[in-house]
């Protein structure tokens, strides 16, 4: 096997392992939890009045009476064929339920990511390009500020001003692009933070490096150096935190979707866990795990293409 193939196989194997482990851990966790998904189908005040045979019948409906190992194997087997069963609460097929809300979350996450990257580059560019110390200092405080503002707070504030008072954007639900603006901005702020922090630092680092000096010497303008030389090389480290960024997006999406009453994977995850909707939780976790794995795999595979040094070690037979 060539080193490159070996590298790809190793990374893909790791990704598959992560997905399997996520499925298994989810299953175990939901079984270890003290609450019973069947109980959560009833009025909590009525729980102790429900005859055991009724509970047994309901549990039977979802296969919860089978031995745990059998349930696990059964669910795993079906999951391999893409069948995660039906949601305990709604009765919808899990795959359909997730696919129903996925586009809405993807639009939100992709839009927020694009906006976050724009904001982050904006901050880094201003911080690097300006020669006013006060402006640089101000701009450099923005990333940590962005990380510390709770999504909940910024969301409610933005609703208050731009929706309730000005009426520019709808306050809830899905009504085309106008419904997307406020959630996008809300979610983009905390996601932009870490990216901007990283960019500011690597911009500064690259600005001091030898090849920039060479460019200066050749008479390039400041703008040309930033766009032509620094930008490309400084962007590379940002790619490595793609996984972290994705995590931030998912975490932020739960709150953003709740505040703006949007449908989405984040909110669905929250309710699924609250109601111990095992099939639904398993389906969502596998989806998220696959996305994580694919993103990290993509980064791993793209990196050698972008970074000649890594490519060199790879061809030298030292995958890693």
């Amino acid at each position: 096997m060539t080193p490159v193939l070996h590298y790809i196989a190793l990374k893909t194997g790791r990704a598959l392992f992560v997905v399997w482990a996520a499925f298994t851990v989810t299953f175990v966790l939901l079984f270890v939890l003290p609450a019973n998904p069947v109980d959560l189908l009833f009025d909590p005040a009525e729980l102790n009045a429900i005859p055991p045979e009724v509970k047994a019948q309901v549990a039977d409906n979802y296969g919860f009476n089978e031995p745990v190992v059998l349930q696990y194997l059964d669910r795993l087997g079906h999951a391999l064929t893409g069948d995660f069963g039906n949601s305990v609460q709604s009765g919808k097929p899990v795959v359909g339920a997730v696919l129903d809300v996925l586009p809405s979350t993807l639009a939100l996450a992709a839009g927020a990511l694009a906006l976050a990257v724009l904001i982050a580059f904006g901050i880094a560019l201003v911080a690097t390009a300006t020669r006013r110390a006060w402006l640089r200092n101000l701009v450099e405080t923005l990333p940590s500020g962005a990380v510390s503002v709770p999504v909940f707070l910024s969301g409610v504030l933005m609703l208050q001003i731009f929706s309730f008072q000005l009426g520019w954007f709808p306050s809830f639900g899905d009504q085309g692009w106008r419904s997307l603006v406020l959630p996008l901005v809300t979610l983009a702020i905390p996601v932009a933070g870490p990216i901007a922090q990283l960019l500011v630092r690597s911009f500064a680092g690259e600005f001091h490096s030898g090849y920039v000096t060479t460019s200066w010497a050749k008479g390039a303008t400041r703008g040309r150096i930033i766009v032509g030389d620094v930008l490309r090389n400084a962007a590379l480290p940002a790619l490595t935190i793609a996984g972290v960024t994705f995590g931030n997006l998912i975490a932020g999406a739960v709150i953003t979707e709740t505040v703006f009453a949007r449908k989405g994977v984040g909110r669905m995850t929250q309710t699924a866990i609250n109601t111990l909707d095992l099939p639904l939780v398993a389906g969502i976790v596998v989806l998220v795990a696959v996305s994580f794995a694919v993103i990290n795999l993509a980064v791993d595979l793209i990196f050698p293409v972008l970074d000649p040094r890594l490519r060199a070690t790879l061809t030298a037979g030292n995958p890693g």
Partner: protein
């Protein structure tokens, strides 16, 4: 290297400074303008009301905290589900919210045998499902059979097994007569036939009953006889209902002729309280349920109407575990009843929409008896005396001790109603003053459900409420043969378990109003006064805020809403 860079930089100084400054200035101006316009618009309130005669048409934008998890109205545990179910399906009977009397709806009349095991309903002959098929005794039978037994193949749960406990069968001697039979007396079935709360017996068409749980998630296939039909159901987001053409069988008690006034209702799910009230204030929605106690006054001040109804059934109660130390001591239970200040909860936690409990039953339930003059009052001196007499001595930390054990009372409660926790904390503070350490664990529903399984051995008090406008709710909650919330058994010291069981059993044995009132009184006397098995706290409420142009939203006997009578006077 750095010298070189800085010298080149310096040589370039002075350029491209202004774009940043200009950009910042533009941003600041925009923000300032936004806030100014926002403040100027701040006074937009509700519009003036109409002349009082109902107008037809319009879409009601309604908001609530929960979303409907499945369009199947025979299942559900939240208000979104019961509210929507009520407007898509009808019931056999209608319970008058004021008197508690059971009045006709899909059934024109009914009779029952002396044992209360057989109920014969004579159905209206003009009722149809929205798919055009007729509503008849076969439909009643098919619905009740599936409602009670479920259907394993279709993935349908036995949703009505508790409400219709002991259901045997429905006989259909003719198309318009349905005879519902039970294995044992079930007086409360008459009220159950009108039930509009969780997992309600609303009638679905025969075609709908043949659908699996999965197929029922296509809302347009869920067919009822109600004043509205499903247009769409979007999980997490909204459910849209449209007026049923040709509807003409609203409960006669509502005095509503013909179709619903509104063309459409949109039930919007808005989880955040501030977004619900903000959307109402800005005119995006017409009405919202789940109004927080702190939002009532500001909304009223802006010209919105606040309507509410106390949730019929039991109050929010502290059910005492009669088997677990220290609540196995009746003196402790009685001291807790007397040991907290009702007035301070009324002043600091509740609004006018809520009330302090004066019995385990809500005032609106038939058979309610007022105990505010006897044991459900604040009397810390009497409480202390009870504890002193029972041998509870004050310890060094202010908490009483007996036989070396502290007077610690562990409470398990649900945090779903915002009022619960502050109310319980108020009780906790007062009890501390008389030497009782009430330890609160107030958690979301899943955690509560998990803990309830261990209530017998781990918890002195479980705090919840039961929404059912019938005194037989007490039977469900406390009867040792059913819910047994006080864990009564032969070992319960100082409690005559047979006496309690007999009293609760008898609630299901008569529908004679006077007799039933007497049984309800006996049951409350035992639970509240004699054995102090329950410490009722407050009566929860459903609170709606709506714009001035919204009229006719009905609260039924279960405090759920019906919109057949609702209309809008702003022409939208």
């Amino acid at each position: 290297m750095s010298d070189l860079r800085s010298s080149i930089e310096n040589a370039e100084s002075g350029r491209r400074r202004w774009p940043w400054i200009a950009g910042g200035a533009v941003l600041a101006v925009l923000l300032a303008a936004g806030i100014t316009v926002a403040l100027a618009r701040g006074d937009s309130g509700a519009k003036a009301a109409g002349d009082g005669s109902p107008a037809r048409g319009g879409t009601l934008q309604f908001a609530l905290i929960d979303y409907q998890r499945s369009p199947d109205p025979q299942w559900g545990t939240n208000y979104a589900e019961s509210l929507i179910g009520n407007n898509v399906t009808d019931k056999l009977t209608w319970q008058d919210p004021d008197t508690g009397e059971i009045t006709p709806w899909l059934a024109e009349s009914w009779e029952y045998n002396a044992d209360l095991t057989e109920f014969t309903f004579h159905l209206r002959k003009d009722v149809t499902f929205s798919d055009g098929t007729r509503f008849d005794s076969a439909a009643v039978k098919a619905n009740f059979d599936q409602y009670v037994h479920g259907d394993q193949k279709l993935g349908i749960n036995p949703n009505g097994a508790v409400l219709l406990s002991g259901y045997v069968e429905t006989r259909t001697p003719d198309d318009w007569t349905a005879v519902v039979r039970f294995a044992k007396p079930l007086a409360s079935f008459l009220q159950a036939s009108s039930f509009t709360a969780n997992a309600q017996p609303g009638f679905l068409s025969l075609a709908t009953l043949k659908l699996s749980a999965e197929q029922r998630t296509d809302a347009t296939k869920v067919i009822g006889t109600g004043p509205f039909v499903y247009e769409s159901w979007e999980e997490q987001v909204k459910t849209v209902l449209v007026k049923r053409k040709g509807y003409n069988w609203a409960p006669p008690a509502l005095r509503h002729q013909g179709e619903a006034y509104l063309d459409r209702i949109v039930f919007n799910t808005i989880p955040e309280a501030s977004v619900r009230t903000g959307s109402l204030a800005s005119g995006t929605i017409d009405a919202t349920l789940d109004v927080g106690t702190t939002d009532e006054e500001p909304l009223r001040a802006k010209g919105f109407k606040i309507i509410h109804r106390s949730v019929s059934g039991t109050a929010i109660y502290f059910n005492f575990n009669s088997r677990l130390f220290p609540t196995n001591d009746i003196a402790v239970r009685k001291a807790i009843q007397l040991g907290w200040n009702r007035e301070s909860i009324e002043k600091t936690v509740l609004t006018d929409s809520y009330s302090i409990a004066t019995s385990v039953l809500n005032k609106s339930v038939r058979g309610y008896v007022d105990y505010s003059g006897s044991v459900l009052k604040y009397d810390p001196e009497q409480a202390k005396k009870l504890l002193d007499d029972a041998g509870w001595k004050l310890g060094a930390d202010g908490i009483r001790v007996k036989d070396g054990k502290r007077l610690e009372v562990k409470l398990l409660g649900i945090s779903n109603l915002v009022v619960n926790k502050p109310a319980y904390e108020s009780v906790q503070q007062d009890l501390r003053k008389i030497g009782i350490d009430l330890q609160l664990t107030v958690v979301p529903i899943p955690d509560y459900s998990a803990q309830v399984a261990k209530a017998k051995t781990d918890w002195n008090v479980t705090a919840a409420n039961r929404s059912r406008n019938d005194p037989a709710a007490l039977n469900l909650v406390y009867n040792p043969k059913l819910g047994n919330s006080s864990f009564l058994d032969a070992n319960s010291t100082g409690v005559d378990v047979n006496e309690v069981t007999t009293a609760l059993d008898s609630l299901e044995t008569t529908l004679d109003p006077a007799e039933r009132d007497a049984y309800a009184k006996t049951a409350q006397d035992l639970l509240v006064e004699k054995y102090a098995l329950v410490n009722p706290i407050y009566n929860p409420s459903q609170v709606i805020a709506h714009a001035d142009h919204v009229h006719g939203i009905v609260f039924d006997a279960q405090s759920r809403n019906h919109f057949v009578n609702a209309w809008k006077s702003n022409g939208k």
